[in-house]
């Protein structure tokens, strides 16, 4: 009797053998998916290393005259890829935060009429007093930027959180 050709193992005639082969191939396919997902997780870890923040050092970000009372100013700190927002209260107090929303990284803006930091992507709100989320999907506060004033000049001196 002629031996069965190899291809017929993967293309059976009977239903039972067909079930067996499809189940075996599904298991292999699932393991391939599992490996790809592990690879994706490792890739995300590598991207995380690349995003690690450099040491924040003292840097001039602008002058006081650029920020009206009750208004805001955008700047970048510690690198050109890190947008931040400086707020000047009606009483002259200065507060600065990262402009990157802690939900999904959209840019936060200052809504002067509402007196709140607002993320337009999913209507997230943050308190201008301490950067804590007050409404919407964000659950973590905005990282705070330490600000120093030297005469008319404003300096960012570090990042917290």
């Amino acid at each position: 009797m002629r031996p069965e050709p190899r291809w017929s193992e993967d293309f059976p005639v009977e239903w039972e053998r067909d079930h067996y082969i499809t189940r075996r191939e599904l298991a292999k396919f699932l393991v391939l998916g599992s490996m790809l997902l592990a690879g994706a997780n490792v890739l995300i870890r590598i991207l995380g290393f690349r995003r690690a923040k450099p040491d924040a050092s003292r840097r001039r970000i602008g002058s006081l005259s650029q920020v009206p009372l009750g208004g805001s100013m955008l700047f970048r700190y510690p690198t050109e890829g890190d947008p931040c927002i400086l707020l000047r209260g009606e009483d002259g107090s200065l507060k600065a935060y990262s402009q990157v929303c802690t939900h999904l990284s959209c840019s936060v803006i200052y809504k002067r009429e509402a007196g709140k930091l607002f993320c337009p992507c999913h209507c997230g709100y943050f308190s201008p007093a301490d950067g804590r989320p007050t409404a919407g999907p964000p659950t973590r506060p905005l990282p705070r930027i330490r600000i120093e004033r030297d005469g008319e000049d404003l300096y960012a001196t570090g990042r917290e959180g």
Binding site: N41, G48, R51
Partner: protein, 78 residues
């Protein structure tokens, strides 16, 4: 039980286990993306390690099932 029915049962059990593993890994990937975007970089390492371990576990289960199946077909397992 007929021989191919045994094989179907064996691979069905392996598929069920691997599907649970893949579900966990999907959750790990989505949680890691969210952590990456929100700057919580500390959790990325443990998530990647857990995902790799789960992938190795699913690979191990598949190899074990293939080995059992080979032995079953050769008649090594009743």
């Amino acid at each position: 039980m007929r021989s191919s029915e045994q094989g179907t049962t064996l691979f069905s059990a392996a598929c069920a286990f691997i599907m649970i593993v893949v579900g966990l890994q999907l959750w790990l990937v989505s949680a890691s993306v969210e952590a990456l975007l929100s700057g919580e970089l500390d959790v990325l390492g443990p998530a990647a390690a857990a995902s790799v371990i789960l992938a190795l576990a699913s690979g191990g289960i598949l190899l074990h099932a293939l080995d059992l199946d080979r032995r079953r077909r050769k008649g090594g397992i009743p």
